[in-house]
Assembly symmetry: C2
Homo-oligomer: 337 residues x 2
């Protein structure tokens, strides 16, 4: 029988995840049952949300159990199929987790076309991060033509798409907040953001006020912390604050820091709203069609940063994400088709 | 010429307002101009918002300037009138500030009928606090029949009305959070709240979970701080958090504390929204009519706590408010008609 290698969550991290919070295990590979397929995992998605999945507190999904395979979005190729919807050689996307091979029902695997976009793009711009950007702007941010839009984590997987979509949907001015001159240059020169703020070297609050003296209509937050506070201080009347993530706070040992400027919601009659992309699953098809077309026309640039390695590289690659070292979508490639 | 006495803001308070942040001055009383009336101030409204007005930071109204009369809602009686809309002897409500007499244009004074309710009620249940409760629930909280509702500061001027209005509008269960057994008993026994939580002796989070295991649909927040966090942890899916005030934070010397559980907005797909009653001025008439009818039918109980004194009593009475010593609307009565 074939052997599979898996990365388990061994301990619940305190603060930053440590290497020994994870453990590699070998197991005998199960054969696919009725309607299931065996998939060789090619790429593993690294997402800020993973930190939350490791935490044993109420959230939108149950935490990863200790001794369970670490949850992760993946791409892969079908090796063996007991489903008439999938055939060996098909490329798929699914939540197979951090392991070399996985068995899943066909309903949990989405076939993708590598002629439309490279495989990794289905973990990024044409995957969950892209959809998150799309629905955060449209359904939660209630983006209207002429709105001013500010995006934090603007060089990340979600933020880089959100800024481009905001422009494509008619925002009057899109400002991205990112860390370091390279990312700032990338989002302006390559992605078409109107301006960038380097939070590592500039005062975010002061720059927001200079760039958008009439305030922010839609603020799409991926980071939380001081940047969220700076944005709250610069809201326009009736602004919408989209709560998508809070990567600056996920590893805080003494708990999350709340936005101390939240009373600006009252001063500016604004709202702050949370969402999850899964709520809009029925609209995925339409959104992906629009985004693929924009990508095709060159309106939407997607970028993936691929780290090659094995399961052992999961932890250092995840830490790269929390250190903000990636530009665009960060992916760990553990095998080739 | 007649002499007027006024309470000025002498210094900007740091933390809790101190007695010498204020100063009494005598001035010669100006005569009312065209369309204006001279009003003898009878009652002064004490409001949590006053702390914000003393602060020199961007807000929904300009701060009270140093050396200016402290801003305040007031009731009074017209002494002299140069307006055909007001006659001597008329009772009025307006923002005359902390002074013994004041001159204002007729457009800034609202004539009230003391046969419908006592004068002080127009500073409370049938005044700004009552209207704040009304529009917070209806326009911001989007209250629907069958919703569970939680109100903080539930024995205060706004909270005590909000809980009763929520019941009158069809909430399935209304829980109030207040400080001390007397207030808790009052809101349940006299006002008809379904339950009360005494934040001084109980764990708010645990009690909310016990009382509303399916979560909170509408949370009306007057206090901020730990209680807001406890409520956020207990939201139902799609909940609305109405940001009305944050009295627990107004005197904090090291700045406001933000709600560290704000990511529950994402987990529960909830929204947090701020508002000010002034936004709904066109609907005041209709709201007051409904509330006066409810008050008449005994559905709405309003309570005012009247402190008798002079301008010198403004500071100690304000501190009573921040110490949570009042039940219902706190009013300083400086003269009789």
């Amino acid at each position: 029988m074939a052997v599979n290698r898996q990365l388990l969550l061994a301990k619940r991290p305190v603060g930053e995840p440590a290497p020994d919070d994870f453990e590699v295990r070998e197991e005998e590979l199960a054969a696919p049952g009725d309607g299931e397929a065996l998939v060789k995992v090619l790429q593993i998605s690294l997402d800020p949300a993973m930190r939350g999945w490791m935490r044993d507190t109420p959230s939108y999904v149950p935490p990863v159990g200790l001794g369970e395979v670490m949850r992760a979005g993946t791409t892969g190729v079908v090796v063996e199929s007991n489903s008439d919807k999938l055939a060996p050689g098909d490329f798929v996307v699914g939540m197979l987790g951090v392991q070399e091979q996985g068995v899943a029902p066909d309903s949990a695997l989405t076939k993708v076309d590598t002629n439309v976009a490279p495989l990794e793009t289905y973990l990024g711009g044409l995957g969950m991060p892209g959809l998150t950007a799309y629905f955060g702007l449209t359904e939660v941010g209630d983006l209207k033509e002429g709105d001013t839009v500010v995006i934090s984590g603007a060089a990340g997987a979600v933020g880089s798409v959100a800024g481009q979509l905001a422009k494509a949907m008619g925002a009057s001015k899109v400002v991205g907040i990112a860390g370091g001159p390279d990312k700032c240059q990338w989002i302006v020169d390559d992605l078409g953001f109107d301006a960038a703020i380097d939070y590592k070297s500039e005062s975010v609050g002061r720059r927001l006020h200079e760039l958008l003296p009439d305030g922010i209509n839609v603020y799409f937050d991926n980071v939380g912390g001081e940047i969220l506070d700076a944005a709250l201080a610069n809201l326009a009347w009736g602004a919408r604050v989209v709560i998508c993530g809070a990567i600056s706070q996920y590893n805080a040992e003494d708990g999350m820091r709340g936005p101390s400027n939240y009373m600006m919601l009252l001063v500016r009659r604004a709202r702050m709203q949370g969402f999850l992309v899964f709520d809009y699953v029925k609209q995925y098809g339409e959104a992906l069609q629009r985004m693929a077309a924009w990508r095709n026309e060159g309106v939407l640039t997607t970028r993936e940063e691929i780290v090659e390695g094995g399961l052992e590289d999961f932890h250092p690659t995840l830490m790269k994400l929390f250190a903000g070292e990636n530009t665009g979508k960060l992916v760990l490639q553990i095998a080739k088709p």
